[in-house]
Symmetry: C2
Subunit: 325 residues, 2 copies
DNA sequence: ATTTGCAATGAAACCCGTTTCATATATAAT
DNA sequence: ATTATATATGAAACGGGTTTCATTGCAAAT
């Protein structure tokens, strides 16, 4: 693999001059410049990023830690962050944790060792709070609420209001027996959504009926079946996310329960598939793109220097489609 | 950020000794070892990966270039490669190209500069053949056919047979007016699938009816509408992939055309969503997991040293579900 | 008591691109 | 013609792990 010094020798100049041509950091005689560029072209020289990173103590990289790349919600998030990062001159580095706190910690450590400039953690669990507190790289939390100042910034949307909206919408659509498939309660997002559901139930004096389910469609299938046994009178289901809502629909369809005729469904996240279903899924919209943009923007504009504990809460909205009346 | 030399000073040893403890490359006095480990723990020292990479000329990284992370087929592929890479001690590095050949080249160059140990390109276009030929890092092509020896290995499945199977299945299921929504023809996978369709049509003396469509669900919606205008007699549709098949189903559903009653549909890829739909999608299964595993295995076992132009062709199969009779 | 051999350890060189600082050359000003 | 200033360029140092090679210390063998 050819080095900058070899290019320099071939061009009859010093490595410094080649470096200056590559980076445009200083004016170089146009003859030499041309010669250098030609030799780079001919030899296919590519600067060693490890050496660059070592010197500048920055890999020009934004790390993104997500619980599951298979979940289209995170895929969308990742795709946006990918785009925005590249636009801002950063390499996006995606880490998949499979909802495993140990893997979350490992990913964090890896990104630190790689000299990532910032780390975006999406829907992270509380288990890595400690690790994040000690992280020498600014961490932006996305899609999770934080009470303390461990992170440099916290971007999320109004989960509680989302939970309320879903419940109120079902009540307005005529449901009296609403079951909430609540998400894993060690996640802030799941907890606050659930709280919204609970409060609206209390306000309307309707029974609180719940099952708990991971953000995973196989478990969604299982929990929906359990739900139907446990609450046979159900006429409205709030799923913890769209994936689970899709599994819910599937189970109802198989059991010949009409949607939205007998049971209405509301999802969460508005993943792109939610409107591809037939019937299309009523769901709560998170402004994923804007949230992703904000996260990258904060990093690119270097607004995280002080551990400022910035908070950005985005509004949610309900989109009524075909799984509710 | 603390360095290995500072750790060494605190422990009263040399940097070499600390390095040996971290990597287990040589025996170290157990007292010193313990002291070193304690100090690493206390200070939160993390070795600088850039320095390591610079020295060993390898980032212990497998690059993965995919056309679109939003397409669940590639997401699944990426998830498997992610898992297997980590298991083999490599960092997976995902690059998204948005079907843009320039971005494909940029990703390739970036991975080279980062000292990736190998690069897996999924469904790459022919446009980067030249760039791959000159790539100093072994390239494994996944989900694309190659005629020449530009890549170190080529892993794909039998697209042609897949195209045949889909067509024969529709014929056996009673279709006489089959329309093929063929994929982008600059991609080998799309071309061979289409060829399979054409050959079966010829053998059975049924008309060849085609529209062309990218692997994208929005275009899938549009092309299905066009298809229905162009071929109103259609009774069977072969979609170029599952995403397009899902859009096809959606358009038919909206137009009250029953599936599989009036029109039958076959997809391609067997993405996880295909069996979540109601009705579940009949499709062609690619052994994605096995293909991903083979790719990582070749790299991890260092079987790519000679530019051996290895070929691995995986069989496809058809899974008849609910969109065909 | 002396030599041989081995194990543990440290100093220094190395990986390669970037930057600083000093030098050489050219231009402008006196 | 001479000094002052600006510009282009190169040598050397740096960043932080890793490895080689030499050394030290100690135990076993003679």
């Amino acid at each position: 693999m050819i080095t900058i010094r070899e290019v320099a020798k071939l061009a009859g100049v010093s490595a410094s001059t080649v470096s200056r041509v590559i980076n445009g950091t200083a004016k170089v005689d146009s003859d030499k410049k041309e010669r250098i560029l030609r030799i780079i072209e001919e030899t296919g020289f590519v600067p060693n990023e490890a050496a660059r990173t070592l010197f500048r103590k920055s890999a020009k990289t934004i790390g993104l830690i997500v619980p599951s790349i298979r979940n289209p919600y995170f895929t969308e998030l990742a795709a946006y962050i990918d785009d925005f990062s590249l636009q801002c001159g950063f390499r996006p580095f995606l880490c998949n944790t499979g909802y495993d706190p140990e893997k979350e910690k490992a990913a964090l450590q890896m990104l630190i060792s790689m000299k990532a400039d910032a780390i975006i953690v999406a829907s992270c669990s509380e288990y890595i709070k400690e690790a994040i507190k000690n992280c020498p790289v600014p961490v932006v939390s996305l899609d999770a609420m934080w009470s303390g100042p461990e992170v440099a910034a916290c971007i999320h949307c109004d989960y509680y209001e989302g939970g309320r909206m879903a419940t109120e919408h079902l009540i307005e659509s005529g449901c009296h027996n609403i079951v909430c498939i609540k998400g894993p309660q060690y996640r802030y997002s799941a907890r606050y959504r659930y709280q919204g559901y609970l409060d609206v139930c209390k306000e309307h004096n309707i029974p609180e009926q719940t099952v708990e389910c991971d953000y995973d469609f196989n478990q969604g299938l299982a929990m929906t079946e359990e739900l139907l046994k446990k609450y046979p009178e159900v006429d409205g289901i709030i799923a913890c996310n769209d994936i689970v809502a899709i599994s819910t629909y599937k189970v109802l369809y198989e059991q010949n329960i009409s949607v939205p005729g007998q049971v209405q469904i509301v999802g969460f996240d508005n993943i792109s598939f939610s409107k591809l279903l037939s019937p299309e899924l009523t769901t709560i919209i998170q402004p994923i793109k804007e949230m992703a943009e904000k996260a990258v923007e904060l990093i690119a504009n270097n607004e995280l220097t002080e551990l400022s504990d910035k908070k950005f809460i985005f509004p949610v909205s309900l989109i009524a489609r075909q799984t509710t009346k």
